[in-house]
């Protein structure tokens, strides 16, 4: 086992990783910015190193400062958590070059999966279905028209060099293509310095279903079943659950098989997630997240496994702890992300000081909390305060426990999305498992 791990993150995920290290007797080293000196993850680590001022660019995102903390403390490995440097292949490579074990996949895999066109190509070659569209970047309006004629409308024009939704243009029909092409090209050129575009079918009201995969250095790859994450705002998840409700068993079997095949094809090692969009019986690869996910606890609750423990074991060179046929999915689990955002104001950030915090407890209720009373929720970081995870023998039981838990979750000083969660959990559509990724933006759960 690794003797020590530098946790290159903050808040709830830093605490989660520190706890995982503790269980295995691994020394956990935290890093923190000046803004986070009073946060719980700093106090809980075996050692903590101040790495800079509040802006993430000058602390959590600064390669040299993070690597410097690893050198200074003699850390043997780096756990990146999610966000920040977790999907930055240059940083993973820098860790390797500094003689540190990277708790994640090889940097070349992060690089490949981070390039959307390349990831699509690799998955298509592996026989994983991708959203119908162009083979790669297109150089003319005529070429786009030909693809449109083949795959049908509506479609999306996306910047080949892009990401994060920037430069995406939806095209309703063939008549709208010329103007949309010119607009998307202009935006792509301005944002990414390249006007290269590719075309994809626009999938209306899809579900987001993802598969947790795990690989080891011996070439074994398994899946830990699926998660449904269709309740989103601004393409960011708010509620996740496992199993995915009302998912056809054949579609699920197809998804997990495709996920393992895709991960194996790229030589995947450690924890990863293959994301798909699902519409009816059709499922398409969306992207791969080459790290531990925010929502990993729902998988832990239905499998009874500790994913951070698996990550540490695999990074130590051990084989996967269990073969595929020993990884069962039992009961149901649900996660609500508690963001410091105001759902009444279109999920605008709500920074401030946590004046009071009361957390729920009870059977089947798990809390992953980053904050404590008195801490400042800063404008510099992601607004995730905590995650409430409930489990039950059935989905109904998990939902009932969540509703009770959220009633007992009290935060004063900042506004949170708790009232939104309560409306979703009470809605007929959610309870029936009739969900899709565009529901929140369509106002499906408005007060």
């Amino acid at each position: 086992m690794l003797p020590s791990v530098l946790v290159a993150n903050r808040g709830e995920i830093a605490r989660r990783v520190i706890r995982g290290c503790r269980r295995l007797g691994v020394r956990a080293i935290a890093v923190y910015s000046e803004a986070d000196a009073g946060w719980p993850h700093v106090a809980e680590a075996d050692e903590a190193v101040l790495i800079g001022p509040a802006p993430a660019r000058e602390s959590y995102l600064d390669f040299e400062r993070v690597l410097g903390a690893a050198r200074k403390t003699g850390a043997r490995a780096v756990h990146p958590g999610y966000g920040f440097l977790s999907e930055n292949w240059r940083f993973a490579k820098a860790c390797e070059e500094a003689g540190l074990v990277w708790i994640g996949p090889p940097w070349r895999v992060i690089q490949q999966m981070g390039d959307k066109v390349e990831a699509r190509r690799r998955m298509r070659e592996a026989g994983v279905p991708v959203v119908p569209g162009s083979e790669g970047a297109l150089d003319s309006l005529e070429a786009a028209g030909a693809v449109g004629g083949r795959i049908g409308y509506p479609l999306m024009l996306k910047a080949a060099a892009g990401g994060g939704g920037i430069g995406m243009v939806r095209v309703a029909d063939a008549a709208a293509l010329p103007a949309a092409w010119a607009s998307a090209q202009r935006r792509a050129q301005a944002a990414f310095g390249s006007g290269a575009l590719f075309v994809e079918r626009y999938v209306t009201e899809p579900r987001h279903v993802e598969v947790q995969v795990f690989g080891d250095t011996g070439g074994q790859v398994v899946h830990l079943h699926e998660r449904e994450c269709s309740i989103q705002r601004r393409h960011q998840k708010l509620i996740e659950e496992s199993p995915a409700p009302a998912l056809d068993p054949e579609v699920k079997a197809h998804l997990v098989e495709a996920a393992v095949r895709g991960a194996r094809a790229v030589g995947y090692v450690n924890a990863g997630t293959m994301e798909f969009i699902v519409q009816g019986r059709e499922a398409y690869f969306l992207e791969m997240n080459t790290r531990l996910q925010v929502e990993h606890p729902v998988t832990e609750e239905v499998t009874g496994l500790d994913l951070v423990e698996w990550q540490l074991r695999v990074a130590s060179g051990e084989p996967l702890p269990l073969p595929q046929d020993k990884i069962a999915q039992r009961g149901a689990a649900l996660e609500c992300r508690i963001y410091a955002e105001d759902p009444a104001k279109n999920f605008m950030p709500s920074p401030g000081t946590v004046a009071r915090l009361a957390l729920p407890a009870g059977p089947g209720v798990r809390l992953e909390t980053g904050v404590a009373e008195g801490v400042q929720v800063s404008v510099h970081y992601d607004p995730l305060l905590a995650k409430v995870v409930t489990r039950g023998d059935t989905r109904e039981e998990a939902i009932a426990r969540m509703r009770t838990a959220l009633e007992g979750f009290v935060v004063e000083g900042v506004r949170t999305v708790i009232p939104f969660h309560q409306r979703v959990l009470a809605s007929a559509a959610f309870r029936a498992g009739r969900v899709h990724t565009q529901m929140v933006e369509q106002g499906g759960f408005n007060a």
Binding site: P55, R234, A340, E341, M348, P349, S350, P351, G352, V379, H380, Y381, D382, P383
Partner: protein, 71 residues
């Protein structure tokens, strides 16, 4: 009548998208704030000419602080 444009959230000034003398329509961005990984424009409440920008890039502003004055 000059009118103050106020920040509607707490954040850091990410980008100043207008300058003194610019003519803006209602809803045009005056500056873009960054808060909790989101970029949020502060928009002109009505049409007018920017008289003064009262913040600098990188500066932290509180909800209700004056960002600019338009005329």
């Amino acid at each position: 009548m000059p009118e103050e444009v106020k920040a509607h959230i707490t954040g850091v000034v990410f980008q100043i998208t207008s300058k003194a003398g610019d003519r803006l329509a209602a809803g045009d961005p005056v500056v873009v704030l960054e808060s909790m990984k989101m970029e949020i424009p502060v928009e002109a409440p009505r049409a007018g000419v920017v008289r003064e920008i009262k913040v600098a890039e990188g500066q932290t502003v509180q909800e209700g602080d004056t960002i600019a004055v338009i005329d």
